[in-house]
């Protein structure tokens, strides 16, 4: 089973844990409904669609409302610190949470108590906290976009907002930034860098570059990185090797985008709907 940890943009949404379900444009968990827009709900929707294609069980969600004040995130961190050690997941993805180094470290301690160590994936705010804590190497996969890759490559930046100008990405600098992120031990075992070209890399270097089909509008659409993280999480949840899963996920996400015929005004649910068709094409190619 895979676990998905994140927040939803509703200050009144309580801390809820349970099996998740996608119906129409909404995620359901313990009878509560969340509209899929971007962020963790988009990740979950993509993971559910992928799990359905692969005949896997639905992801188990750990969700709480947070609009940026961090109250919900801190409640969720505390809950995870007390409960995660007793759970059994083969894969856990940590997503939109308020970055907090101390809380992050307590969650890692809880994971160490688990009977078997799950594959650990981090993206968004939790990835920021993982990097800032100096614990990136504890993770199996980070899924940064190119701006976040520059942040991982800047050994002094505690948040992408402070990435120094000389490091901020320019065209074709991804290979250099990946090498720098590994040099300063600020990368997970594997990186899936999302962008105009997707890169799958490890400390040995770039293992694959995925650049087709290319839909320029995807960069502007909120949630397309979240869907990629959701797809790769569900693939890894089947037991697939991380690098292979990252390559397939990048291809599926791009093909889903292609089928959605996107413009910069397209919303992410239009792309999520195309995931099953995209899988049929990508798995047919392999």
């Amino acid at each position: 089973m895979i676990g998905v940890v994140g927040t939803v943009p509703d200050p009144d949404f309580p801390l809820v844990t349970g099996e998740t379900r996608l119906k129409d444009d909404s995620i359901y968990i313990r009878g509560k409904r969340i509209l899929v827009n971007r962020g963790t709900p988009a990740l979950l929707a993509a993971a559910i669609k992928t799990a359905q294609v692969l005949d896997q069980g639905a992801p188990f969600g750990y969700l709480v409302g947070d609009v940026g004040l961090g109250h919900g995130s801190r409640r969720l961190y505390e809950y995870l610190s007390g409960h995660l050690g007793k759970r059994d997941f083969n894969t856990i993805v940590f997503h939109y949470l308020q970055p907090d180094v101390d809380c992050h470290n307590r969650v890692l301690f809880a994971i160490e108590e688990m009977e078997r160590r799950p594959v650990l994936i981090a993206d968004a705010g939790f990835m920021y906290a993982a990097k800032m804590s100096g614990q990136s190497s504890q993770y199996d996969l980070f899924t940064p976009d190119i701006g976040e890759l520059a942040f991982l490559a800047d050994e002094e930046a505690p948040h992408p907002f402070y990435t120094r100008g000389f490091i901020l990405h320019e065209k074709n600098r991804a290979p250099e930034l990946i090498a720098r992120a590994y040099k300063y031990k600020n990368a997970a075992r594997c990186l899936l860098v999302k962008g105009k070209q997707d890169y799958v890399a490890d400390r040995e270097g770039i293992q694959a570059t995925i650049n087709s089909p290319l839909e320029e509008a995807m960069e502007a659409i909120g949630g397309t990185g979240d869907t990629l993280t959701g797809i790769v999480t569900a693939l890894i949840g089947t037991g697939m090797e991380v690098t292979k899963a990252a390559i397939i996920a990048a291809r599926v996400n791009r093909v889903a985008g292609f089928y959605a015929k996107p413009t910069p005004a397209t919303q992410v649910m239009d792309i999520i709907r195309q995931i099953p068709t995209a899988f049929a094409r990508v798995l047919g190619e392999n």
Binding site: R38, G70, D100, D123, D145, G147, Y162, A220, G225, P264
Partner: protein
């Protein structure tokens, strides 16, 4: 140790710094920093929003750098509007500079502006915000839910409803978009 406790334990060290001229105002939330910045700039104070020094960094942090000689007046200004800082800490180490580089991408009918990790896309003809992407702090999906579909003139600014560094980065992209 709590953030505040950590600050207190480091206070003595800071007070012995060789550069007593600069200090930082530390707030509980980035949204309070944003509010205080607006108030102090409006009042004519020469202040800068910066990243905190490593010893007091906790996560999603932002501080206001002030000339310490004006500390009392600045504090009075903030207290008068109910936004006092948690702490005033003298600093000597270099502060992190927020991103000030913008990148834009012209899609023809749409324009996308990026500041740090945040991207804002607007339909040129109508000024309607059609997408917000990037970021990793929890207010990003919230900001998107409140701003997408509205015109730049009608939408709430990230400064008003955002709370994190990602929200602040989106504010910079929003201001740059309005400037154009």
């Amino acid at each position: 140790m709590s953030f505040l406790g950590f600050l207190k334990s480091n206070k003595k060290k800071h007070k012995t710094s060789s550069d007593p001229g600069r200090g930082i105002l530390v707030f509980e939330h980035t949204s309070e920093v944003i509010k205080a910045e607006r108030i102090l700039k409006k009042a004519g104070w020469k202040i800068r929003v910066m990243g905190p020094p490593p010893e007091i960094r906790s996560g999603c942090d932002l501080v206001i750098e002030i000339p310490l000689i004006q500390e009392l007046n600045i504090l009075r200004t903030l207290e008068n509007v109910g936004t006092p800082p948690m702490e005033v800490v003298p600093v000597s180490s270099p502060l992190l500079k927020p991103v000030d580089l913008f990148q834009n991408k012209d899609f023809g009918k749409y324009l996308m502006i990026r500041a740090a990790n945040m991207k804002l896309t607007v339909e040129k003809e109508t000024g309607t915000i059609v997408n917000i992407s990037g970021g990793g702090c929890p207010d990003v999906p919230y900001l998107a839910s409140k701003m997408v579909g509205m015109s730049l003139n009608e939408a709430p600014s990230p400064r008003e409803i955002g709370h994190t560094l990602c929200g602040y980065a989106l504010q910079l992209a929003y201001e740059e978009m309005r400037r154009r």
